[in-house]
């Protein structure tokens, strides 16, 4: 790996600023291993829950002009089996692993954290984007700065690993939410999760294409939303940011870094450019650095 790509993240040295984002190819150790070999700097597991989840019934995916709609429904083998995959991964690779967890309550998040404490994961990421659970004011949890604060705070008080809070883009004021995370002790934030939800209809059968009707939006078309929210978050918190959403090329990655991200997540890009996307983007970042006469990734400027 080219040294110019090296970055530091919460005290760890990464070979590349690219992150395999949660839920993309992250279900099994060999899949994670392959992404790691494809030069991702750090990898994230599928969000793990206390009990295994089969996810929503199919169709769970629909494509449209500019993006992908998905309603996977957080299918995962459960925290115990999920962490076994992480151990197996670590047998073959020393790349850092972010363990993503998803709970429906503070208690669930806490229990999950206990599991992760005893695992070989390097970071813990809280998937806070649950659109179906609401706070006492009717706000989705992900949009409630108080609920977000409470979850992060509780996890932080017991976690042995650095804690990353993953945020939803579907909020009115990302700044408040980001500040809540920082105040609660989060070590980093990751944004964005999927946009929407959206829906598509099969006009011949007069039926929603997704069996779950609604799905979250990802892919190139969410990039402007991700960029905007990373920009706003960067303005108001000092903890590092993992910028995710619609990154397909090295130029996109540099755009994310310049905007305020310390690391750049790759998700749906894998569909558009294959699992080799990490190598491709890393090469393209190097090109952008050369063209614009930047020493290395760490010396990229930040947008004011």
């Amino acid at each position: 790996m080219d040294k110019k790509l090296k970055v530091e993240f919460l005290g760890m040295n990464l070979e590349s600023p690219l992150v395999l984002t949660s839920g993309i190819m992250g279900l099994s150790y060999s899949s994670l291993l392959r992404m790691a070999k494809n030069t991702a700097g750090i990898i994230t597991t599928k969000s793990l829950t206390l009990v295994p989840r089969k996810g929503h019934k199919g169709p769970v995916i629909a494509e449209f002009n500019g993006g992908i709609l998905n309603s996977m429904g957080l299918c995962n083998p459960g925290i115990e089996d999920g962490l076994k995959e992480v151990s197996e991964f670590k047998r073959y690779s020393s790349k850092p692993v972010i363990v993503s967890i998803f709970g429906n309550s503070i208690e669930e998040f806490e229990k999950l954290t206990e599991y992760v404490n005893h695992s070989e994961g390097d970071f813990i990421e809280l998937n806070l984007s649950c659109p179906n659970v609401f706070d006492e004011f009717g706000l989705p949890i992900s949009a409630s700065k108080d609920k977000v604060y409470q979850i992060v705070k509780s996890v932080k008080s017991i976690s042995k690993l650095p804690v990353i809070a993953k945020l939803s883009p579907n909020v009115y004021n990302i700044k408040e939410i980001a500040i809540s995370c920082e105040n609660a002790g989060a070590d980093a934030i990751c944004l964005i999760n999927t946009v929407g939800t959206g829906m598509l209809i099969d006009i011949k059968m007069v039926k929603p294409i997704l069996h779950n009707k609604f799905g979250g939006i990802s892919g190139p078309c969410v990039k402007p939303i991700a960029i905007k929210l990373v920009y706003e978050a960067h303005q108001c918190v000092d903890i590092p940011i993992i910028g995710v959403g619609g990154v397909l090329t090295g130029e996109d990655a540099v755009e994310m870094l310049i905007t305020g991200a310390n690391l750049v997540g790759i998700g749906s890009g894998i569909y558009y450019r294959g699992v080799e996307i990490f190598e491709k983007i890393n090469d393209e970042i190097l090109q952008v650095l050369t063209e614009n006469k930047y020493e290395d990734v760490s010396s990229l400027p930040y947008l004011k």
């Binding site: 190819m25 279900l27 060999s30 299918c75 083998p77 099969d202 294409i209």
Partner: protein, 259 residues
């Protein structure tokens, strides 16, 4: 962008008590081994191999096994289904070939055998199942080549025993350029183990959700091969290195289920 196509069923053919072939008028432009993701928009979307494909129509051959396939069996000609694809890798074509099919996994081999015949290959087919009722495409395969062997566990058709009972002696007497195999994984495992020197392509089924290579559901250990994209047809050299092959698969939650 991948398009979703919604089509009327043009024809339904009963292959056996629990197997039907559905035909659609559409130029799918698929290769043997590839599959489509099919839904009736009631509940579920499932992968099915293409069992035939010409310039103006294609077919899938379905075994009634659970909720989704049971609903398919209630459909009539003219009813509408929706699919996306074709997805996945395909079988390569060779000159002197042996096709080995087991149980309800033979549909892709029917399509393959037709392509091989066009290609003027020298074709031998072994088609095995538990009992006569489960043997598919008897007449179709006979039209493809004289060298068709059937096996049943109970001896109700052809040789009594598994396909292996034919394969082993055959390989001692004849030299094939390529073996193609589709069937239950333990059978495939035996074939792969046996083919030390003979090229061999194997169709592997795994639980599928996205079918476009992003969800990770179908990925197979230890190489992280993405079956929906890089499979379902894999070269035996790759298959041999898969620690998961023949040992376990993953269910809808990603949990391992051992064979």
């Amino acid at each position: 962008m991948d398009r979703r196509i919604t089509l009327e069923i043009k024809n339904i053919r009963k292959e056996s008590k629990s197997v039907k072939t559905f035909t659609f008028s559409y130029n799918l432009n698929a290769k043997p081994g590839q599959f489509i993701m099919l839904t009736d928009f009631e509940c579920g979307e499932k992968p099915f191999s293409i069992s035939d494909c010409t310039d103006n129509e294609f077919s899938i051959t379905v075994k009634k096994i659970g909720e989704f396939t049971t609903r398919l069996f209630q459909l009539k000609k003219g009813d509408v289904l929706s699919f996306r694809g074709p997805y996945g890798s395909s079988f390569s074509l060779s000159d002197k070939v042996l096709l080995i099919g087991g149980g309800y996994a033979v549909p892709p081999l029917l399509f393959l055998s037709k392509m091989l015949k066009k290609y003027n290959a020298d074709i031998t087919i072994i088609n095995g199942a538990k009992t006569k009722e489960d043997i598919l495409f008897i007449e179709n395969f006979k039209r493809i080549t004289d060298k068709v062997f059937f096996t049943t566990d109970d001896g109700s058709l052809g040789n009594k025993g598994t396909v292996m009972s034919i394969v082993s002696p055959l390989l001692q007497n004849e030299k094939f350029d390529m073996i193609y195999a589709s069937g239950p994984e333990p059978m495939l495992k035996k074939i792969v183990d046996m083919c030390d020197t003979i090229p061999c392509e194997v169709l592997i089924e795994r639980y599928m959700k996205c079918a476009i290579g992003i969800c990770g559901q179908c990925v197979i250990d230890s190489l992280g091969i993405i079956i929906c994209k890089e499979g379902p047809v894999l070269d035996k050299e790759v298959v041999k290195r898969l620690s998961e092959f023949g040992v376990y698969k993953r269910n809808a939650s990603g949990k391992r289920v051992y064979f």
